[in-house]
């Protein structure tokens, strides 16, 4: 079997072969998405519910489009506005939805581990669309696809991940994925935004951005997560931009053909120079968005195949 799991909860349990399988399938969906007729029936008859306990525009739209292109019936639930406010627990919400027989559940939650907890209580396949500061597996997969298409490989690359590592689930999933694919990872950021014990993850840690970018193939910028900050982490945005914002001068320390990535949404002028972000020769930020839809199609396709294999009599 190409993908052995029931859910996609994180990069941590995946084998490199499984990661490659998702990316290979995603490559085919990139082609489909560029064709005039974008429809597939891989998820025909299946119901996909997007449950976002935390606001999201980009990821939710990407999952919705991915489901629709594959022929699933897609429903979006914005959970901030619903029963959570009435005091219902996460488990109760999950059980209620489970009774409606969805096949794919896409969940984002502000607390680490909440998606794992929910996955224990439902019968369908669960995709983690981001849980707290823990994991955001489809983001790491779309980043990997973007890198693989730009660089031709995922191994033996030097990838610099810069900025607010402490609050970033994107960083954690990327570190896990790139480590499994045998790339070299550098983390760059002010020590207040570096998680404790990061040096034990098999990565190199830098607080000087220029030193950290030296010779990098990929420069991955992270959004400064102002909404997750509960105290004093940086003196000011302008000092942060001065020391850790990516501009042409700092990027010159990386390899001449280094690509610039950002998971979005960007704070222009805080972690990245606006002109650089729009530079089509260096920035692959728009490609990342495109790869996002393809990777999510691939992931849901593989999970649906496993579901069908499990219940051959029920689903054609």
């Amino acid at each position: 079997m190409t993908y052995r799991h029931r859910h996609l909860l994180g990069i941590e349990p995946l084998h490199p072969v499984e990661i490659t399988a998702i990316l290979d399938l995603a490559d085919r969906y990139v082609a489909l998405n560029r064709a005039p007729d974008k429809r597939s029936n891989a998820l025909a008859g299946l119901t996909q519910i997007n449950m976002f306990f935390e606001s999201s525009t980009r990821t939710q739209a990407s999952f919705e489009l991915a489901g629709k292109r594959l022929g699933a019936d897609v429903m979006n639930m914005s959970m901030q506005a619903s029963s959570i406010k009435k005091g219902e627990t996460l488990i109760d919400t999950a059980m209620t939805l489970n009774a409606m027989h969805p096949d794919l559940l896409v969940v984002r939650h502000p607390h680490s581990g909440a998606v794992n907890l929910l996955a224990e209580k439902v019968n369908c396949a669960v995709l983690n669309a981001g849980d707290g500061r823990h994991e955001h597996p489809t983001q790491a997969l779309l980043d990997a696809l973007t890198i693989r298409r730009a660089k031709g490989r995922l191994h033996r690359l030097t990838v610099a991940i810069c900025g607010d590592i402490a609050h970033s689930r994107v960083a954690r999933s990327n570190i896990l994925l790139l480590g499994k694919m045998e790339s070299r990872i550098r983390l760059i950021g002010p020590p207040t935004l570096m998680p404790a014990g990061a040096a034990d993850w098999g990565v190199e840690v830098f607080d000087d951005m220029r030193a950290g970018l030296e010779g990098a193939d990929v420069v991955m910028m992270l959004r400064l997560q102002k909404e997750r900050m509960d105290g004093s982490f940086i003196p000011s945005e302008r000092e942060y931009y001065h020391r850790y914002g990516l501009d042409g001068e700092k990027l010159a320390h990386a390899k001449p053909d280094a690509i610039v990535m950002h998971p979005g949404p960007m704070n222009r002028g805080v972690e990245i120079d606006g002109t650089l972000a729009d530079d089509i020769n260096r920035s692959v930020i728009q490609e990342q968005v495109e790869m996002g839809v393809a990777v999510r199609m691939a992931a849901m396709d593989l999970l649906a195949r496993n579901l069908r294999a499990e219940q051959p009599g029920v689903m054609a």
């Binding site: 607390h111 404790a196 014990g197």
Partner: protein, 435 residues
């Protein structure tokens, strides 16, 4: 006049640090004689008087455990634990004295609430219950409680439990006032600022799991502060849980300087570490959070050499609803009245601690700290006893626990050590063979 004769026992006495075969003669709730190994029920007239004879079959007979810091959820949350359920669990766990926490709802911060608690406890609990009272009103850290009245009403110690009195001026006045009455103040050394919002101990594991975490340094910082205040006020002070290697030198220094200071530790910090949380298992969420393996070993060694004085269960019942939540939101604490003894046996079986030394921390030291006559096997001591098989293996099924709440991290684990019988004041309150 009731007389009970215990024969053929392996006596564990923490006062003399002995582990030897022998027997006991108990009359009217008091140990009246320690008998030699060859004692039988017919050797002299006194023994022939015994109405009850307990053949211990070579198993361990030790003083009953004095457990400081048991949460019984009365008043307020009786569905989590009542005096009846906690008392039965304690009896089945070899605990003969529960020293209960005041972090109930409402807090035990007035003599009236304390009297209610004592009435309930006396009516329902098969084991002794000694209540502690809050140090500050509503445990809010602003005004001290009526320490004198509460002491007169029966409070054996004063504590705000897991809340730290952050205002040093308030805390120093509480300590000064407590000193004048000679009462014991129990504090939870944890810097409140550094530990705010933390669910785990900071490090590689917490960072990878994306959980809010606190450095173990928060414990040392708070202990350092408290030691300075104890030096200033001369109060009797007990740190409820010392769980990290870095806090130990501060504790050692304070003891060497002659401060009236003792320290405790909960069973979970001695037997589990931060990695046991695994995939966000909330039954492993406790306060302070589980530490690194290095810290665990350091604390086990500190217990063995006596630097840490007291081992307790930190029994904290939580219902399923408060645990079935994302890790950050889930309630802290674990039930442990029945798992304290078998979990502590792991330290014996691993060769870290000998049985009499373990019992020093389980019965003698906590009794002494509270000026109780219990905790030892000696003529004249109360006959609060536990008979147990230190090697009996079992797999724990949490639904067999007698506590109303079943939140134990040891569910499904292999354990060794089974309580066979428990006596409080010479009366049998637990019999493993009884239906």
């Amino acid at each position: 006049m009731t007389t009970t004769l215990f024969i053929n026992a392996r006596l564990i006495d923490p006062e003399t640090l002995t582990d030897a075969p022998g027997g006991l003669l108990v009359r009217d709730g008091t140990i009246i004689a320690i008998l030699p190994a060859d004692a039988t029920e017919t050797t002299d007239a006194t023994r022939r008087d015994a109405q009850h004879v307990v053949d211990c079959g070579g198993r361990c007979l030790a003083p009953g455990i004095v457990d400081i810091g048991v949460k019984v959820s009365e008043p307020g949350e009786r569905h989590k634990e009542s005096f009846r359920s906690a008392g039965r669990a304690a009896a089945a766990g070899g605990i003969t004295t529960m020293v209960t926490r005041p972090d109930t709802s409402p807090a035990i911060d007035t003599p009236e609430v304390l009297e209610f608690v004592m009435r309930r406890a006396n009516a329902d609990s098969p084991v002794r219950v000694l209540p502690m009272a809050a140090l500050t009103k509503e445990r809010a850290g602003r005004e001290m409680t009526e320490i004198g009245f509460l002491k007169d009403a029966g409070a054996v110690a004063f504590t705000d439990c897991d809340r730290v009195v952050a205002d040093t001026k308030v805390f120093s006045r509480c300590l000064t006032y407590a000193r004048s009455l000679g009462v014991l103040v129990i504090a939870h050394p944890q810097d409140p600022g550094l530990s705010a919002g933390a669910a785990t101990t900071s490090g590689k594991f917490a960072s990878l799991k994306g959980l809010p975490a606190v450095s173990p340094m928060a414990e040392r910082m708070a202990l350092d502060r408290d030691m300075a205040l104890v030096e200033m006020t001369g109060a009797r002070y007990h740190a409820d849980q010392i769980t990290s290697a870095r806090a130990l030198p501060a504790l050692e220094r304070a003891k060497q300087n002659g401060l009236d200071v003792t320290a405790g530790v909960g069973i979970h910090h001695l037997t589990l570490n931060e990695f046991d949380v695994g995939d966000y298992r909330t039954f492993f969420k406790i306060k302070p959070p589980l530490r690194s393996e290095d810290d665990r070993i350091a604390v086990v060694e500190a217990l063995a050499d006596g630097l840490i004085d007291i081992l307790c269960s930190m029994h904290t019942p939580q219902d399923e609803e408060s645990k079935r939540l994302p890790f950050e939101e889930a309630a802290s604490g674990a039930v442990a009245l029945q798992t304290l003894l078998p979990a502590a046996m792991r330290l014996v079986h691993s060769g870290h601690v000998a049985l009499p030394v373990l019992w020093r921390a389980l019965s003698l030291n906590p009794a002494r700290r509270l000026n109780l006559p219990q905790g030892r096997l000696a003529e004249g001591a109360p006959a609060d006893l536990v008979l147990f098989d230190p090697d009996a293996p079992f797999v724990l099924d949490r639904f067999t626990l007698l506590s109303k709440s079943k939140n134990t991290p040891f569910d499904g684990q292999r354990m060794e050590g089974r309580v066979l019988g428990t006596w409080v004041g010479g009366t049998r309150v637990f019999d493993s063979d009884a239906p």
